[in-house]
């Protein structure tokens, strides 16, 4: 009897809630940013990539940085869900859905932004009709697609028991939502066999998503590392990218945790203890990423080979020094210092650290792409003056911001439609505790 009262309370707390005023403003804002981005993309389609500031030397700009950023952030789905689950980490379960939602949103925009970067997007189908397996781009197409579907399933399967609960609360969700829920999940009866089957499926997905997640990020790093360019010609790149991806992904989860907790009053479910534990995870990942950065920059810096010289000087003390040191300090060192203290792992400081990690990571991705292209082997001489510099045009900024807003919009909508914390799992855990 008492159990059902508690259940009722939990379900009531966790059911998706309608947007309040702040939520509506938020959605409107994101939509506007997306629309501006769409308009900029229309201009790019019409006039060509000439509307960007990219030119023959810097032929990849913030679109590719942004792509790498999205791929990085999407790695979180496998970290929180799969690795925690397989390692038997129980405290992570309220965070799994947040992580999976972020992963799905990020991977969608990673694939969109790569199409945006194409000079002739109308020939996208050539990738399938004339695809050559030698090209790392084809590897990327394959793993991104695979990762997208596994992530989607990993979001969907654990949702099924929750949809059954949602279907019981028709008056709360409204008619249209009810129809949608029954469309995607009414076959789920919650029988022991179904639970067993779903458990098995989720376990298989968790095991498969880890290598796929590692591959997607390693392949993205190989897009660069398979070239001869100074700054990209690195054997460290795969590991370096994965370490960075884990860090930015967990930073994103921390930020999302904080925001959802505030917006949906989930203090009882996402507790200070969760922040404390995530803080430990983030500090570990920051240290790991710092370690790979040392590998990436210290060894070539020590030797200072001629081809690397201009590139490294540009990073450490030249044109890119401000961004470089900003990314290192804000993205790694200051977060490490803050998180080493117990009071630094409280929700608000954690939120700030999460934002720092994400911002630092975005600029870090910028630094991976641009400085290398501005330091080719042969001098940039016999080319128009405008080819020697790169600062993104308004269209590039608008499209990039639009894609970031679009990812946030997907996260927001999914959080509106589905319970952000798995209800069924919370109930089960509550029951286990009672016993």
């Amino acid at each position: 009897m008492e159990n059902s009262i508690i259940d009722e309370k939990i379900i009531n707390d966790l059911l998706p809630q309608k947007f309040g005023k702040a939520g509506k403003i938020w959605v409107a804002l994101l939509t506007v940013v997306c629309l501006i981005g769409l308009f900029a993309y229309y201009r790019q389609i019409r006039y060509g990539l000439v509307v960007t500031a990219m030119r023959d030397y810097v032929s990849w700009g913030i679109y590719i940085s942004n792509f790498v950023f999205f791929v990085a952030i999407s790695l979180v789905g496998s970290l929180i869900t799969a690795i925690f689950r397989l390692a038997g980490v129980k405290w992570g379960s309220p965070l799994t859905r947040i992580a999976e939602i972020i992963a799905v949103a990020a991977i969608i925009f990673a694939s969109l932004i790569i199409i945006v970067d194409m000079g002739s997007p109308e020939r996208f189908y050539n990738l399938f009709t004339h695809g050559r397996i030698q090209s790392p781009i084809i590897w990327d197409v394959i793993v991104i697609t695979t990762y997208f579907f596994i992530s989607l399933l990993l979001l969907y399967y654990p949702l099924l028991p929750d949809i059954k609960i949602l279907l019981r609360y028709k008056e709360k969700s409204g008619n249209r939502m009810h129809k949608f829920y029954s469309y995607i999940g009414s076959f789920w009866k919650g029988t022991p066999e179904q639970f067993k089957l779903s458990e098995k499926a989720i376990n298989i997905l968790c095991v498969t998503i880890i290598p796929v997640a590692f591959t997607i990020h390693t392949v993205t790093s190989w897009l660069f590392a398979t070239t001869y360019r100074p700054g990209w010609d690195s054997t460290n790149f795969g590991a370096y990218f994965i370490a960075g991806a884990f860090l930015v992904g967990s930073g994103a989860v921390v930020v999302a945790m904080y925001v959802f907790r505030k917006a949906y009053h989930l203090e009882k479910y996402i507790t200070e203890n969760h922040f404390e534990k995530m803080g430990r995870v983030v500090v570990l990942l920051s240290l790991l990423y710092l370690y790979f950065n040392m590998n990436e920059f210290l060894t070539p810096f020590f030797k200072m080979k001629k081809s690397e010289e201009g590139y490294l000087n540009g990073l450490f003390s030249g044109d890119f020094a401000t961004v470089f040191w900003f990314a290192i300090l804000i993205g790694m060192i200051i977060p490490i210092i803050i998180l080493l203290f117990k009071s630094g792992r409280k929700p608000l400081p954690m939120f700030i650290v999460g934002v720092m990690v994400i911002v630092g990571a975005w600029f870090k991705r910028y630094l991976i792409v641009t400085p290398t292209l501005l330091h080719p082997f042969l001098p940039m001489h016999d080319a128009p003056a405008s080819y020697h510099h790169y600062f993104p045009s308004w269209e590039e900024w608008a499209i990039t911001m639009g894609s970031l807003a679009g990812a946030l919009l997907i996260i927001t909508i999914l959080a509106r439609v589905f319970p952000i914390i798995p209800i069924q799992e919370t109930l089960t855990e509550e029951h286990e505790k009672a016993i």
Binding site: G48, R55, M118, H130, Q134, P136, L223, H381
Partner: protein, 307 residues
């Protein structure tokens, strides 16, 4: 193909009118098309035959030949059998005149600011004198650009020429990132092309017309080599900087002189750019020793383009 219209006759006087089709002095040139030809106008035009003979033809019989049928995409992708094209660039002869560049830009209808041939001032060490170094596409035997292209839009032919199929290029610019010689250019906007050129059928051998959102680069003038002629940069250079030829014949020519390729490389200490990368370029350089011009003489041509 070989004994087709173009080389059979040289048109004097009427440079733009095109070339007379299929006529040799032995056969009646106008028989085939006689039905659609108008009455003789009485005005004669002088032409020069391949034998060096001057002949006269009635103006009414002259008609512009439609452009040579472009080679099929498959043919263009295979290349010319038995050939292996190489280029030798003699750095001691270059004074940055940029005739090669303008001839190339003209022949390939490049937009202002785009150059397939670049001429860079180079200096090997602080104590050595600077020199001018023209760069073309290196047409590598292990081309990094071809490896990374996801759709086989850039490809290496069996005669060593690396080409781009602009009808297939998706504009991902991975080849540009992969090329250590920075030779590739991108059509960022809609290229400005004269309507007559824009109407030409695209062929990867001519690289014309350029297309928005695709990559372009030096093609060793594959259309010229198919006709057995030198690339435009080679014939445009008054100083004989470029020599072009067939490695299998072991000979290269700059138009005025012909050299034995292997001797040239051996005697003058020829080298390739960034050989340590393992790309195996088909473009060889002769070091700038005993120069024909001082470095300074090229400075006046070295204006930075502001576009």
């Amino acid at each position: 193909m070989e004994n087709n219209s173009r080389r059979d006759f040289l048109l004097t006087g009427l440079i733009t009118a095109g070339l007379v089709s299929g006529c040799t002095p032995k056969t009646d040139p106008f028989e085939a098309g006689a039905s659609d030809i108008a009455v003789p106008s009485g005005k004669k035009v002088k032409l020069l035959s391949v034998d060096g003979e001057e002949i006269e033809v009635d103006e009414a019989f002259l008609k512009p030949v439609p452009h040579m049928p472009p080679v099929s995409n498959t043919e263009a992708r295979i290349g010319i059998p038995g050939k292996k094209f190489v280029m030798v660039i003699d750095l001691s002869r270059c004074k940055n005149l940029k005739k090669c560049q303008s001839a190339c830009n003209h022949a390939h209808e490049l937009n202002p600011g785009e150059n397939w041939i670049k001429v860079d001032p180079m200096q090997d060490a602080e104590h050595t004198a600077p020199y001018w170094e023209p760069t073309t596409c290196m047409h590598c035997d292990e081309p990094p650009c071809v490896k990374v292209c996801p759709v086989d839009a850039t490809f290496k032919r069996q005669d060593g020429i690396v080409l781009i199929d602009s009808d297939r290029c998706i504009g991902c610019r991975f080849c540009m990132a992969a090329c250590p010689y920075s030779t590739r250019v991108f059509n960022w906007g809609e290229p400005e092309i004269a309507p007559a050129i824009a109407a030409l059928p695209y062929s990867c051998e001519t690289s014309v017309p350029q297309k928005k959102g695709t990559v372009g680069k030096c093609d060793f003038c594959a259309d010229m080599t198919r006709m057995g002629e030198l690339p435009h940069c080679v014939s445009a250079c008054p100083n004989g900087v470029f020599a072009f030829g067939d490695l299998n014949e072991d000979s290269v020519s700059n138009g005025a002189e012909t050299f034995r390729f292997s001797d040239l490389i051996k005697d003058k200490g020829g080298y390739r750019l960034m050989e340590d990368l393992g790309t195996k370029p088909s473009v060889y350089y002769l070091p700038p020793v005993s120069r024909n011009f001082p470095f300074e003489s090229g400075l006046e041509n070295d204006k930075v383009q502001n576009k």
